[in-house]
């Protein structure tokens, strides 16, 4: 994976496979504390004890199409390469939360990448799932909840190109502001 936004997409795909109806993606860039935190939580089916214990084992996977499962191990590696770590909490039938932390200014920390593209691909490909995207950087914060947008759309699909375009523009406007923020 080239950047962290691709890891986020990958982990969110796990949530989708777990039957989640609501997925929250939270990113906190706390430069003063030299911390980057990424958290993906869902209300999917969760993991049982065996699955939880093996979640970071690359040779464990629930799928049958191949014998390795690299999503979580790759994220764990990306975090540990820069003095961070991952934490998984899960409850069978309730959902899972994966939290990855990174040392913000570590030379080996992967860049965040294009989180806007990740969110748009997730929202447009899974119109029935509600996504909450929360991003905090240096005291400023952004939150997008597709459940609210759907309410306003009153039956018009959220993946209608015109709707996707304004969501995309909204996220880009926020990201442009944070990029220009003086640290």
């Amino acid at each position: 994976m080239e950047d962290l936004s691709l890891h986020i997409l990958d982990i969110a795909e796990n949530s989708i496979s777990a039957g989640a109806r609501r997925i929250r993606i939270k990113i906190i860039e706390d430069i003063k504390k030299n911390l980057l935190l990424i958290e993906i939580s869902d209300n999917g089916k969760g993991m049982d004890r065996e699955m939880f214990e093996h979640a970071c084992d690359p040779f464990y996977t629930t799928r049958t199409t191949r014998r390795v499962g690299l999503g979580i191990p790759l994220l764990a590696q990306a975090a540990r390469e820069c003095m961070g770590d991952i934490k998984i909490s899960t409850e069978k039938g309730k959902g899972s939360t994966i939290t990855a932390t990174f040392q913000y200014n570590h030379i080996d920390r992967k860049p965040l990448g294009d989180i806007g593209k990740t969110m748009i691909v997730l929202i447009a490909s899974n119109p029935d799932i509600d996504f909450i995207f929360e991003h905090k950087k240096n005291g400023n914060s952004y939150i997008l909840d597709t459940a609210n947008i759907k309410k306003e759309l009153d039956g018009v699909p959220i993946n209608t190109p015109a709707v996707i375009k304004i969501i995309k523009d909204d996220i880009s406007a926020w990201l442009n502001t944070t990029d220009n923020m003086i640290e």
Binding site: M1, L6, L9, D10, E13, I16, S17, R63, T65, R66, G69, L70, G71, L74, K117, T118, I120, V121, A124, S125, N126, L144, I149, E152, L153, D154, G155, V156, N159, T160, P161, A162, V163, I164, K165, I166, I167, D169, D170, A173, W174, T177
Partner: protein, 127 residues
Amino acid sequence: MARLTLDDLKKIKEKQKATFTLREGGYRAKITVHMGTCGIAAGAREIMTALMDEISEAGVEDVITTTSGCAGLCAREPMVTVEILNKPPVKYGDLTDKKIKEIFREHVLGGNPVEKYALVIGSETTY
């Protein structure tokens, strides 16, 4: 900062409502982008982004995109499966931005599978 406003959504809603009732969930084509760890690492997100741009540019409303997990052919990622109503599904592999655009125009819009990029036609199993 320009923010998404309720007015923007209302405008789209009014405009879409007029055409929405005509299609009522009836889609002519479905494109599935394989978005497992292997697919994402190989560039599946850019393939999906390119497809969404093509759909919006072509102004077609009867084509949907979705994602699925790994299909078991990780070495041939990025892959997509194109399903046209009443036609056998076609799986394409080793995709690039340029190839997916060609597939969209030739196969999805034109109805002719692009055989040179196809891994398998009409079946979920491969050689």
